[in-house]
Every structure is written in structure tokens, then in C-alpha cells.
């Protein structure tokens, strides 16, 4: 990882070496949450059942803590993978799946267990 990403690299480096296949997705998602989305209280959570790490934090000017699991567009993920991701964050109702692409585009999908009625 390059020198101008010096803010995130020390925090992420143990996870980047532990999960080299998803190192790119982890790095891009963390940078997006920290710098572009401006999340506060951003913590890294190890998710060995999904062979990656996830993130928890708060959006600017909100109180609720949200959970994010990064993945890459090239990966194929299953319902059981999503279920274990949901279970790994113990006290959350839903998680956000961050899908990263090679051009640094990120799309976030909100995943909830069961059927959820749309808000409006």
C-alpha cells in the first residue's frame, strides 16, 4: 500500500496480511468509510467465519452504530455466507455489504435477515 495511505495502513496491516485475497476490498472499504463517508468511531472487527474483517462505526451526525462487511465484485457469495456475516456482528439487526470494484467504485447494500417492508 502506498505512502499517502499512511493513515489507514498501520490499522489494517494485520488484516491485510491475514486475508490477502480480499486485502484490496478491505483497504478500499476502510478508506471510503473513513475519508469519503467521514464515519466516526470506526473500528475493525475480525470475521474469521467469512475470512475477512468487517467494520463498525457511526455516520456523521447520527448515533446508531452500523456494521459493514467488504467484498469484491469478482467474488461469489452464498446465503450461508451472508448469514454467518449477520451472526458475526452480535448486536445488529442488519449489515451493509460493501461491494468494491477495481476502479475504486463501491456500492453498499443493506442486508437484513428475513423480509423487511420498504420505509415509504
Amino acid at each position: 500500500m502506498q505512502n499517502h495511505a499512511s493513515v489507514s495502513y498501520p490499522i489494517l496491516s494485520p488484516y491485510l496480511s491475514k486475508y490477502p485475497r480480499v486485502a484490496g476490498a478491505i483497504f478500499q472499504t476502510y478508506n471510503d468509510l473513513l475519508l469519503a463517508q467521514q464515519w466516526t468511531d470506526l473500528d475493525v472487527v475480525d470475521l474469521p467465519s467469512c475470512s475477512r474483517c468487517g467494520f463498525r462505526g457511526r455516520r456523521p451526525q447520527t448515533e446508531a452504530t452500523l456494521s459493514v462487511v467488504p467484498c469484491s465484485l469478482a467474488e461469489s457469495i452464498s446465503i450461508s455466507w451472508l448469514t454467518s456475516a449477520l451472526k458475526s456482528f452480535h448486536d445488529t439487526e442488519h449489515i451493509y455489504l460493501a461491494i468494491t470494484a477495481e476502479d475504486s467504485s463501491i456500492v453498499y447494500y443493506k442486508i437484513s435477515p428475513g423480509i423487511v417492508k420498504p420505509p415509504i
Partner: protein
């Protein structure tokens, strides 16, 4: 054009013809190389003489941009702000890694500090529009609930009334106006010499870089020689040969050594880099601007001139086809859309793109057989000649409506 704007400029100037002319001026060059004709001599114009002999007399201005290869994110990072702007403005190459398209992160941070209410970047304009639309939906839902409650009340009294008779107006998108902001109106501080010095010290470090995909980077350096890629470990420029091998190795599992021998011994023509590069090069050489299509359920979007001019007309889905089916069974890559797809998948993608007025293109790339082509071809881009690229356009046919 700076995205950091002061607040008192006429906002009307930002619309319509002004914006169009500005864009035509800024994005005038479709490629990073600029061709400029040499000045004519008086007696016998040299350009005519050269033209007869078949040579071009234009001078080529090459920006010579520089980027660093990052294997984990499978991309090339351009950190130099001037190179980033050059590559974006001349051909829309790359994407700011903290922005929606053009690298605008620093401008947004500075704008946030300057409390500039009129100078908004693209992301801020979209955020404002989305917030207003959300408020409109809340108002509409509330009005509908009130109308329903009033109707219930009337029904319980024994009358049946219509929506108009309840007297409650349900807002529509055309007539709804955003409420006046409840936040305190931001004031613009009068400019003082001291303030300017403070602001310069306050400018945050630019944490953003322009991210080029491996396909974009290779296209720039191979066809136009306007990009040099540095090795992240040694900070020295890599040769085209090394880059070609490294870009292929980026898709293999991380433990594979990055050298020609291991790439040749793996002997894989279905490397996602090769397939995607065949598609990227195909459309770029035909003049399309090719960008990522993740937001529209597709692999690539094709723009006629660029994202700032008009929405993309086409969405491309890459469907790799194996010449030899046994190659697919032995593949170490998880290639998407390489197997026959279900009608529901096709229908979903077509619907998504029809909603946003885009035409779906299925691009079939034929992967040559390992049994027919020797591995040695993989050491240079010459192997690309073995791939064929064909397109099929998909549009939904509705017999009842399409009578002509």
C-alpha cells in the same frame, strides 16, 4: 475549472449553455496525446511535402504521466494532482478513489470548511437532491395517511368520501417545493488578508489518488506511451514486458511468484485481465469512453463523449466463451457469466437498464484453447489476437406495442 467556488457567483451561470461551453473547452481532447500542427515555412510548406511522402507533420505533446502499481487492489494509482487531472480531462481515464468520478475529495473538504452554500461539487448536488426527494416522499406518505384517516372517520360516521372531499392535498413531484431550511443560514465571512493565510495553512493533505484499472493503465501505456508504471517496492519504472506479466499475475492467488516463468507454466488464457483488456481495447479503439458499470448491473458503460456530456447509452456485459470446455473445468479463476445463464438473470439486467434508458449489449469473448495455442504467446500482448470479440444487443420485444 476549480470546484472550490465562492458563494456569491451568479448561480444562473452554472446552467445550460454556460456549462456546456465550459465542458466543451475543458474536455476538448479525447485522448491524453495532443496533436499540434507545426508552423508552415514560407517558400515550400513542409507539411505538404511530408504529406506527399506519407508522413504526418504534427507535433505530438505527450503528458508523460506516472502511476504506481498496487497488486492488492489490482489497479494503478496516480497521486500527482496534475497527472490525475490530465488523464481525467483527456479521455476520462480513471476515477478518484474517494469520489464519484472526478477526483474532488479535496475540493469537497475545502468547501465544507468554507461554508460555501452555492459552490457544490457533483456529490454534494446529488446529496442535496436525494435529501429533498426523501423529504418529498415523507410529506407524500404523511398526506396519504391523513387522507386515509379522514376517509375512515367519515366511513365510521356512515359517509363515503373521495380524496378531494377530505380537503387534504397529496403532493406530486411536479408541485412539491422543498421547505425552507431550518438550519441557520450560513454567512460568508468577509475576506481579510489574515483569513487567507490561515486558510492556506488549514488546507488538508490530499488523501485521494486517481485509480486506473489494469485495463486502462495498459491501454494508456501500450497504445499511447503516455503512462509509466512504477514498481511499488523499488519505486522504479517497470518495462512493458514486466507490466504485462505483473498485470496477469495480479489475478492469480497471492502466493504465485510474479515472473514470466510462472505465468507461462500456468498457461491460462482465461485470466480476467486478458479477457477484460480485449473488451476494453475493442471499445476504446472504436472511440467509446469505457467506464465501470457496477451501478447498473453491468461490466462496462459506454459513453459517446464522456460522463459529463450525456448519460451512457449502452451497458456492456462480458460473457466469456471457452473454445475448449475442459479449460473451464481446470480454471483457477471464478469467471462470471462463463456458463449459460438463466432467462431470469437476463431479464433482470435488461429491466434494470431499460429503466434507465440504456441498451444492453452482451459482449462475447472467445477464449482460445490451451491445446491449440502455446503458452509462450502469453509473454506478450500478441496473444490478444487469438481472442475474438462479438456483440449482441438485447432489447425487450413487446408484440402488443411494437407493431412497426
Amino acid at each position: 475549472m476549480s470546484m472550490i467556488t465562492s458563494s456569491n457567483r451568479q448561480s444562473g451561470q452554472r446552467k445550460g449553455g454556460f456549462r456546456r461551453n465550459e465542458n466543451n473547452r475543458i474536455y476538448a481532447n479525447p485522448l491524453p496525446l495532443i496533436f499540434s500542427p507545426i508552423e508552415h515555412t514560407r517558400i515550400w510548406p513542409s507539411h505538404i511535402l511530408l504529406g506527399i511522402l506519407g508522413f504526418s507533420s504534427s507535433r505530438i505533446a505527450n503528458p508523460h504521466c506516472e502511476g504506481i502499481f498496487d497488486a492488492a487492489t489490482r489497479s494503478v494509482w496516480v497521486s500527482n494532482a496534475e497527472d490525475s487531472m490530465t488523464l481525467w480531462r483527456r479521455g476520462f481515464f480513471g476515477k478518484g478513489n474517494l469520489s464519484r468520478s472526478e477526483p474532488s475529495w479535496l475540493a469537497r473538504r475545502i468547501n465544507a470548511r468554507k461554508i460555501a452554500e452555492n459552490g457544490l461539487t457533483a456529490e454534494e448536488v446529488t446529496a442535496k437532491r436525494r435529501a429533498e426527494r426523501k423529504q418529498f416522499k415523507l410529506d407524500r406518505a404523511q398526506a396519504i395517511a391523513e387522507a386515509a384517516a379522514a376517509a375512515e372517520l367519515a366511513f365510521s360516521e356512515g359517509r363515503i368520501i373521495t380524496t378531494e372531499e377530505t380537503g387534504i392535498v397529496i403532493p406530486s413531484a411536479a408541485t412539491w417545493k422543498p421547505h425552507s431550511s431550518t438550519a441557520p443560514k450560513p454567512t460568508v465571512p468577509p475576506p481579510l488578508a489574515d483569513d487567507n493565510i490561515e486558510e492556506e495553512e488549514d488546507i488538508p493533505e490530499n488523501m485521494e489518488h486517481l485509480q486506473l484499472t489494469l485495463q486502462e493503465a495498459f491501454f494508456l501505456l501500450w497504445t499511447m506511451d503516455c503512462l509509466s508504471v512504477l514498481d511499488p517496492n523499488t519505486n522504479t519504472a517497470m518495462s512493458v514486458q514486466q507490466i504485462w506479466i505483473a498485470f496477469q499475475a495480479a489475478h492469480f492467488p497471492p502466493h504465485l511468484p510474479i515472473d514470466t516463468a510462472s505465468i507461462l507454466s500456468a498457461h491460462r488464457f482465461d485470466n480476467p485481465f486478458l479477457i477484460n483488456y480485449a473488451v476494453y481495447h475493442h471499445y476504446r479503439s472504436l472511440g467509446w469512453v469505457v467506464k465501470n458499470g457496477i451501478k447498473f448491473c453491468a461490466d462496462y458503460m459506454l459513453y459517446k463523449r464522456g460522463p459529463v456530456f450525456h448519460h451512457a447509452e449502452f451497458a456492456v456485459v462480458v460473457c466469456p466463451v471457452y473454445e475448449d470446455p475442459s479449460d473451464q473445468e481446470s480454471s483457477p479463476f471464478d469467471l462470471q457469466n462463463a456458463s449459460p445463464f438463466a432467462w431470469s438473470w437476463l431479464s433482470t439486467i435488461n429491466r434494470v437498464n431499460s429503466q434507465v434508458q440504456k441498451t444492453l449489449i452482451l459482449t462475447y469473448v472467445t477464449i482460445p484453447a490451451r491445446s491449440r495455442i502455446p503458452a509462450s504467446l502469453l509473454s506478450t500482448p500478441a496473444c490478444l489476437r487469438q481472442y475474438s470479440v462479438r456483440e449482441v444487443t438485447i432489447r425487450r420485444f413487446i408484440p402488443a406495442r411494437m407493431r412497426d
